[in-house]
Symmetry: D2
Subunit: 304 residues, 4 copies
Amino acid sequence: MPYQKIIDDLYLKYKDFKIKGKVASYIPELKKVDANKFGINLYNLQDESFGAGNFQEKFSIQSISKVFALTLALKEIGEKIWKRIGVEPSGDPFNSLVQLEFEKGIPRNPFINAGALVICDLLISKLKEPKVKLLNFVRKLADNEDIHFNKKVVSSEKKYGFTNAAHVNLMKSFGNIKNDIDSVLDLYYHMCSIEMTCKELSKSFLFFTNDGILPWSKEKIVSLSVSKRINATMQLCGHYDEAGQFAFKVGLPGKSGVGGGIVAVHPDLYCICTWSPVLNKKGNSYLGLKVLEEFTSLTQASIF
Amino acid sequence: MPYQKIIDDLYLKYKDFKIKGKVASYIPELKKVDANKFGINLYNLQDESFGAGNFQEKFSIQSISKVFALTLALKEIGEKIWKRIGVEPSGDPFNSLVQLEFEKGIPRNPFINAGALVICDLLISKLKEPKVKLLNFVRKLADNEDIHFNKKVVSSEKKYGFTNAAHVNLMKSFGNIKNDIDSVLDLYYHMCSIEMTCKELSKSFLFFTNDGILPWSKEKIVSLSVSKRINATMQLCGHYDEAGQFAFKVGLPGKSGVGGGIVAVHPDLYCICTWSPVLNKKGNSYLGLKVLEEFTSLTQASIF
Amino acid sequence: MPYQKIIDDLYLKYKDFKIKGKVASYIPELKKVDANKFGINLYNLQDESFGAGNFQEKFSIQSISKVFALTLALKEIGEKIWKRIGVEPSGDPFNSLVQLEFEKGIPRNPFINAGALVICDLLISKLKEPKVKLLNFVRKLADNEDIHFNKKVVSSEKKYGFTNAAHVNLMKSFGNIKNDIDSVLDLYYHMCSIEMTCKELSKSFLFFTNDGILPWSKEKIVSLSVSKRINATMQLCGHYDEAGQFAFKVGLPGKSGVGGGIVAVHPDLYCICTWSPVLNKKGNSYLGLKVLEEFTSLTQASIF
Amino acid sequence: MPYQKIIDDLYLKYKDFKIKGKVASYIPELKKVDANKFGINLYNLQDESFGAGNFQEKFSIQSISKVFALTLALKEIGEKIWKRIGVEPSGDPFNSLVQLEFEKGIPRNPFINAGALVICDLLISKLKEPKVKLLNFVRKLADNEDIHFNKKVVSSEKKYGFTNAAHVNLMKSFGNIKNDIDSVLDLYYHMCSIEMTCKELSKSFLFFTNDGILPWSKEKIVSLSVSKRINATMQLCGHYDEAGQFAFKVGLPGKSGVGGGIVAVHPDLYCICTWSPVLNKKGNSYLGLKVLEEFTSLTQASIF
């Protein structure tokens, strides 16, 4: 069955689905989003794109941006970043301080908030204009200049971001943050505020299915080995305390954000992105999980 | 490069390697094992076997047996087992009670001790002679009658198994163990005491690379979907608190045991098993991890 | 105001009080107790006794017995018991395993279940017939032969005592239990099953107000220093996770039990005991706390 | 034996004692203090003062100031402060975030850092010039105008206080901090930077031995009941994770600080203060604990 048909069918099946859960509400900017938005897009290595619903509408990618930041850090700094950050799944909820304190300020992985804050700290130490560099990096991966920070989201996050401030202060107390706390939080909130569409996101993750190489320009972003390792990290740590469920049901490496987006990667084949803002209790898009599970069942396309 | 050559090269490279770590010592039977034992074996779907070193010598498979028990439980009882057990990675060390108490007696996954104890409890409720049934199931998977429990290991485990007794009592206090505590522990210790060779183990996991079907007899052990889900569970939970490292470096679903064995599965291709009894701090075979990492690098064969 | 008047007034004020909470229900024997039972008794150093309500009715003293066991252990074995047990308050609920695991099997204090189990283990190692010895010790302290174990409570506790079994197994795994697990649990459950009246209990704790000496016979049970230290331990650890509230509101050393009894000691003056089986969320007698708070307010008799 | 003689004897016995432990080193200002400083002072209700060693030398009172802040909050705001703060001992080390997160931003008691930060927040909401008010309050209690903040300590604390910043941010994320984070930390650090002598401290705590009334002016600072409750809180929570040891060995309500001071109160009799900057592993003055234990043994003066 062709991708477009499957995606259209899934869109029609679920577009009026009664969803259990809530839109993210910790900042006003996210709370305002229309709960009924629903988009799907798939990009394959043949540069074909298949979309349905609101797949061309921008949304706040939030934690999905952590994959871009990790990739940039590995590209610019290399494997030594793993001295300051782990690669193990985190059993605790994504905003927990317990584990971080127990493990002396070393975050378990780069996709929990604490881990992404360390990545920001690393980027600030290494790059001259880290915000500009990060945004340009995402634009190159998406082959698209029309990608921006949302300044309202940035200021909202700053106003309510006491948990993140607690994390970064705790890590600083353990010596695992080198730069000024405010500049680390500033880069972090800018990163999370990036807005993209399903179509742009699925294109921008395509190099992970292509051994680290941009399919259209053949530019090598990261090595084969690094690309596979980022995929492995997404598989194990990409969905807060629901990584097991995601591997079990969807069976692909992926990353979700509280804006309601999920990106999943099938090595050597395609990248698929869904957007539906209503979240389950674990903070992942309710409909996104459902659609991706059904998609990989229909296409028998899990990596396992 | 042919598998036999790669395996021979890795064996020669590492057979005299100075290893950091210790043989498992919590029971005398495991402590007695020669630290220098080292075997590798790969079975592919063409029924070819490639071995090196002590690949035909029996060792205590310990926690690797948990994969057999989970598979038998899914085959006999079905998906409803997931009401009593999770599929999420466990951040804590494999013998921790903290998480189990916090999560009201529901173990995080079937590969931590508590989870395997629940699986044993489920098998006892369902099967008439669970020990016999389990052993026969393993024999069928390995196509080999010469597989046995080690009674000395069973009694040693019983004598020193106070942590497991604590787990099972705690879960019973939460109502998540239905049978008599002694019979649950008895099945659990028998299961862990199974002895197999690298060659036998790599053959017995081959159906996981073949969508749940025994390659030689075409017998369907579990469905495609269940087979993929067990692979996903191994990927996320198969190596205690080192699952992330294993995914990151080896990139294949797998399961380790404190006897020093590790089995790894490449869907659609092969199953490989290593044995070296010296463990790292996380309780996984030091040399096994090294060899498997290098094997998947050389063959560029990670699933990611 | 004379004690009898205060006690009568408090009894009348509270005997028909609508209580929030529940009778202990983890074993049928405790669940059966009439929730309306309510007794108060005070013994002073002049050997005068002042009672009201059901103060001459036997009830299950449960954890109050831990004070007797600790005293006997200090008398028979001495200060070296503190190598295997702490004197710090426990922040966690009384049935928590978390702290015990974190602190390598050393219980925080002798009044949490794990601590009392270690005391039982110490008594078994030291005494020939520990159950007989313990019961006779309590009889001497109460100057009364009519004090007994309740065998039904013992078997009920054994049938449902999986949490205690988890504790003792965990401590055994850390080497902090020397004897057979079943014999430790047997002594523990016998100890908890002792039945006494408010009058008997207030008499049996009187030596703690008298520097360790039985007022009627002048027999020295423990030294002045040991007596004061047990009082201090009751003050800091006598009420599970409500020790602070008890010190804050009542201001006397004391010990509660899930049978609904509370004993409180005023050094150099008196011992008072209340009984009302309905417990608050923290496992302490709701009415007992209220009455004792009001009693020490009226008599301005806190030790602080 | 008269107090002066006991104090002189203890001073001579311990002044050249080889101490195990270290001076607080988390800020340079504390690290610089001479480890050999050693002072003792006792004030009784007859307005007599008995000192030895460096009892007239100022030192950083640090956490001892939390008792002043709590008293001022109870005086100015009343019992409703207990809605935002508990009175239970904290099992965890004094800088732990675990419990605070678990208990939704409500600190266990007013003497852990998080609790004192909430007290500061309450004072800021209530008082116009909280720093001035607090300092004047301490001066009145000590009957002495020559008491000051140490501005160098304040800026040192701010420079290195990432753990406290983590605490206050975490509580703000739970809604338990109402004011600006910087102003809360500013008051907190000023409070901790107060410098006093043993003589001044022992005088300033004297009203706790006198039912809340300043002995020299008969001014009522707090009610009898509040005075007793603060004593109870000091007894249960005054020494981080060593409150049990302090009750057990010293047997008096008290409060310690990382500057090496300890104040202890004997209701109706006296207040005693020791200073020796070398701390044990739990963060309490090594020599102070020893001297106070011996003092209450010699005078048989525990409250238990």
